[in-house]
Structures are given as structure tokens and as C-alpha cells.
């Protein structure tokens, strides 16, 4: 029952793209406004009081953190609100599963699509930041790939919650209790080294922390941190991937 079909997953992505194309103009604004506000408030406003952080300007520090965080938020929107509508409100999951595409293919297709969304919105934000002088190295061309992995990971994580929750209000808990703290405490706005000593090791568990590290390295033109962090992300993606595939059959087939 758990056999995935690459062809079916491709169809799910095509289908999601059809909706996305129509709603892009509406969704681009809220997805980019949030990081732009933070960029202006912190990267420009607060930067004057901070000086350098980890041997780079605070503007550079915040911008690199926000690129990864933008990807995370775009993927999370797809895997929570959008997925919930498709699973429980309009129930398009059931319409698609009437075709040769099975529920398992749909859920993995949606996780991959969350990765694509993360890539699109994270890269758009990166382009805006580039105009403000945040790009110092050609290595940034690898960032869309990192954004994709980051989005795939948060897509899977979000989908696990969306499949489990009994109603829509619980999705707020996921965003408030998991996504929001990760947003704040993953080396995004201030370095982990300034946190209490006992708290620091926990950052290692934050997927965003690893994505931020890679994006930051690539933006300043270094690859020292990249390998291990990417490996960590790939490993977690593999482990997480199995869960929604099993859950979706359990929770949506009666």
C-alpha cells in the first residue's frame, strides 16, 4: 500500500502549480512582506546599535537568516493552511485519490511542492536583499537548492501535523509553538552564542538553524559549514518522509 509512484507525484505537483499560478499575485505580497518588515526593522533599524556579529555586519547576519526563514514560512503555509483545505475543507485529496494517484503520492507531492514554494519565495527575498547589498559571493546561486531542501523538510513536518489535527484551530498551535520559536531562536536574529549555555545545544535540533547556517556561509562566500548541515537536513528529510506516507492512509482512509 505504501508504494510511491514518481509519475503520480509529478501529477500532484503539476496540479498544485495550476492553483499556484492563479493565486501567485495574491500570495506573493504576504509571503514577502513579513521578511521585508523584519529586514527593515532589524537589518537596517537595529543594525546601527549592534555593529558586527560573528565577524560580519548585522545587516548581513539578519538577511541571511531571513532568507532561510522565508523559505520555512512559505513551506509551512503550504503544508498547514493549504493542505488542510485540500484534506478537510474542499477535500481535493479525495478527488485526486479517485484517479490512479494514491493518497501517499498526494502527500509526498505536496511536500515537494512546499519545497518549490520555499525556493520561489526565499529566492525572491534574496533578490530583493541583493539590491540592498546583501550578496557578496557567487556561491549564492546554490541557495535555491538549500531553500528547496529546507522547504521539503518543513513541508513534511507541517503535513504530519496537518494530517493529525482534528480541526483547523490546532494548526495555530503548530505555528505558535514550533514555527515561531524556530523563527526566533535559530541563529536568525541573534547568534546562538549569546543564549544561555544550557539552551545552546538545543539549536542543533532546529532544522532552520542548519538551513540558516548554510545560507549564511554561501552568502559570505564560505563553504566550511555547508557539508555537515546539508547532511543533517538530508537525514532528517529521509526520516520524516516515512511518517506522513504512513499517517495519511491511517487518518484519511476509513
Amino acid at each position: 500500500m505504501y508504494k510511491l509512484s514518481l509519475n503520480s507525484i509529478k501529477h500532484v505537483i503539476e496540479r498544485n502549480y495550476m492553483s499556484f499560478k492563479k493565486l501567485f499575485k495574491i500570495s506573493v505580497f504576504p509571503n514577502l512582506l513579513d521578511p521585508i518588515l523584519y529586514l527593515v526593522a532589524m537589518g537596517i533599524g537595529l543594525a546601527g546599535f549592534v555593529g558586527n556579529v560573528e565577524s560580519m555586519s548585522y545587516f548581513m547576519f539578519v538577511t541571511s537568516g531571513l532568507v532561510a526563514a522565508t523559505g520555512m514560512n512559505a513551506a509551512t503555509n503550504e503544508a498547514t493552511t493549504n493542505a488542510f483545505i485540500q484534506m478537510r475543507v474542499e477535500k481535493t485529496y479525495y478527488a485526486i485519490s479517485m484517479t490512479p494517484v494514491n493518497l501517499q503520492d498526494i502527500v509526498i507531492g505536496q511536500a515537494v511542492w512546499a519545497g518549490v514554494r520555499s525556493t520561489i519565495f526565499g529566492s525572491l527575498f534574496l533578490i530583493i536583499a541583493a539590491f540592498l547589498g546583501a550578496v557578496q559571493s557567487w556561491l549564492v546561486i546554490a541557495i535555491p537548492l538549500v531553500l528547496f531542501l529546507n522547504g521539503l523538510l518543513f513541508g513534511l513536518l507541517g503535513l504530519i501535523f496537518t494530517i493529525i489535527v482534528p480541526n483547523r484551530d490546532y494548526l495555530n498551535y503548530y505555528v505558535m509553538l514550533i514555527i515561531q520559536p524556530l523563527y526566533m531562536f535559530s541563529d536568525t536574529f541573534f547568534p546562538i552564542s549569546s543564549m544561555p549555555k544550557w539552551l545552546r545545544p538545543y539549536s542543533w535540533f532546529s532544522p532552520l538553524y542548519h538551513a540558516v547556517n548554510v545560507c549564511r556561509s554561501l552568502m559570505i562566500g564560505s563553504i566550511t559549514n555547508v557539508g555537515w548541515n546539508i547532511l543533517w537536513m538530508l537525514l532528517v528529510i529521509t526520516l520524516l518522509g516515512i511518517i506522513p506516507v504512513r499517517l495519511v492512509h491511517k487518518k484519511l482512509v476509513y
Binding site: 495550476m18 493565486l23 478527488a95 479517485m98 484517479t99 494517484v101 482512509v253
Partner: protein, 253 residues
């Protein structure tokens, strides 16, 4: 007539509750079989097991000779489904809804567009191709769902209350389309609460009560076999809603 659907000793349990018990029937091409039963009798559950939206507890379902639980992706290729809920994508237009569904059957793009236009013509929605789903009436939505169920040229169309809530005109339009499909060789499996619909469309009727098939026959023969005048009387009588119960209901109201 070749057998398209074989339901063999089918059962479905939810914990201790048995929703479907030992059901057997066959649907062949050019044939319409109707499942008649009150709400909760197990009709929709039976249908969902056929298109793999519900798991099978016991027994076997074969679509075109292939076991449904072994290879759902293959058996679903032969099926078209008009589910009780419309399950349309509100972010897409009428035409886009069909295209998004057709993609999943590996139909090449160009061919798919032609097919969608053809089907919209068939169900009388050509003028609504680029309209939003929200602008459709209930009857139009049902016709669109019927068109969606025909995209893959199915051998069997499953119709779960296809005309519930529709006006008389819309029901007649849908009936006409279904009879045309039957003539073309498609097998139909129908559930309905309308006796006239069943009499008009079905070649064979199964009366289901609490998950069990109580009687089986043609719409004309069933009343004769069981000593009733009409199909409705037969249905009410066999499912325990007899005169005595009727009297109690009337006394209470």
C-alpha cells in the same frame, strides 16, 4: 456482456460495528445496478471500498478481473466516480477542474484539452468553461462531476446519489446522459433515495439494510417476488418500515 465488477463476500467492520456484511454482486457492461437502502445502510461504504477510499475488512473486490486491494492504482483507471460530495477545487475554473483531474490519468495535454471540451459539451456546460466553480448551480456542479468521472473513458461509473437535491429538470438531464452512457457499453453502479430514478435507470436492484443484502431482482420483479405493489412498498416493507411502524409514527406526530 462482460463482467466489470465482482463483489465477493464483502464485509466492513469499524471496531465492533459491522457496516457491510457478506455482500455479493456483479455489474456487467451495459448494465446498471442500484443499491437501495436507508442512510447508514452501507451503500456508500461499499462504493468507497470499490474505489479504494475505504479499506476492505473481509472478502474481495475485482474490477475488470483485477483485485482492488492488490493494485488500486490500476483498478482506479477503469473507474469513474460521482461521489456524494462534489469535491471540486474552488481555486480553479470549470475547465481547469477537468484538466487538473485528467492530468492524473496520464492523458497527453493536447488530447486532454479536446476531451475536456467534448465532455463539457456532453453535459451542457460549454458556456461555463472559464467560469469559477462558485458561479455554478447545484445541478451544474453535479453535471461537472459527471463529466469529471468520464475523463478516463471508464468501464464502470460509480454514482453515489447523483441527483440528490436537484430540480426535476436537472435530474432528467442527468438521467438522459446516464442512459446514453449505458447504451455505449458503460457499466453503472448507482445509489439513490429516489424510486423513480432507480426504476428509470436500473436493470437490477439490491435492497440493503444494516449492511446486509435483503433482496435482489429487477425493478419490476422485486415487488412481485415479495408480494408488494410497488418498489417503494417493497423497500419499506423489507427494511421493516411496515404498516404497524407507520401507525406508530403517525400516532406520535
Amino acid at each position: 456482456m462482460s463482467e466489470i465488477l465482482n463483489v465477493i463476500n464483502l464485509s466492513k467492520k469499524y471496531g465492533f460495528f459491522t457496516a457491510v456484511k457478506n455482500v455479493n454482486f456483479v455489474v456487467s457492461s451495459r448494465e446498471c445496478v442500484a443499491l437501495l437502502g436507508e442512510n447508514g445502510a452501507g451503500k456508500t461504504t461499499t462504493m468507497k471500498m470499490i474505489y479504494s477510499a475505504a479499506s476492505i475488512t473481509d472478502g474481495q473486490i475485482k474490477v475488470d478481473g483485477i483485485d482492488v486491494s492488490k493494485n488500486p492504482a490500476t483498478t482506479k483507471r477503469a473507474l469513474g466516480i460521482v461521489s456524494q460530495e462534489d469535491l471540486l477545487d474552488g481555486s480553479l475554473t470549470v475547465l481547469e477542474n477537468l484538466i487538473a483531474h485528467g492530468i492524473c490519468y496520464d492523458i497527453p495535454k493536447k488530447q486532454l484539452k479536446e476531451k475536456c471540451k467534448e465532455l463539457l459539451e456532453f453535459v451542457g456546460l460549454s458556456n461555463y468553461a472559464n467560469k469559477e466553480i462558485t458561479s455554478l448551480s447545484g445541478g451544474m456542479r453535479r453535471r461537472l462531476v459527471l463529466a469529471r468521472a468520464m475523463l478516463n473513458d471508464p468501464k464502470l461509473i460509480i454514482l453515489d446519489e447523483p441527483t440528490t437535491g436537484l430540480d426535476v429538470q436537472s435530474r432528467h438531464v442527468i438521467w438522459k446522459k446516464l442512459l446514453t452512457l449505458k447504451q455505449q457499453g458503460v457499466a453503472l453502479l448507482l445509489t439513490s433515495h429516489y424510486m423513480d430514478e432507480v426504476e428509470k435507470l436500473a436493470d437490477k436492484v439490491l435492497i440493503i439494510h444494516q449492511g446486509v443484502v435483503l433482496a435482489e431482482g429487477t425493478p419490476d420483479n422485486l415487488p412481485v417476488q415479495n408480494g408488494y405493489k410497488t418498489l417503494e412498498d417493497t423497500f419499506l416493507g423489507l427494511t421493516g418500515f411496515d404498516e404497524e411502524a407507520n401507525d406508530i409514527v403517525q400516532a406520535l406526530s
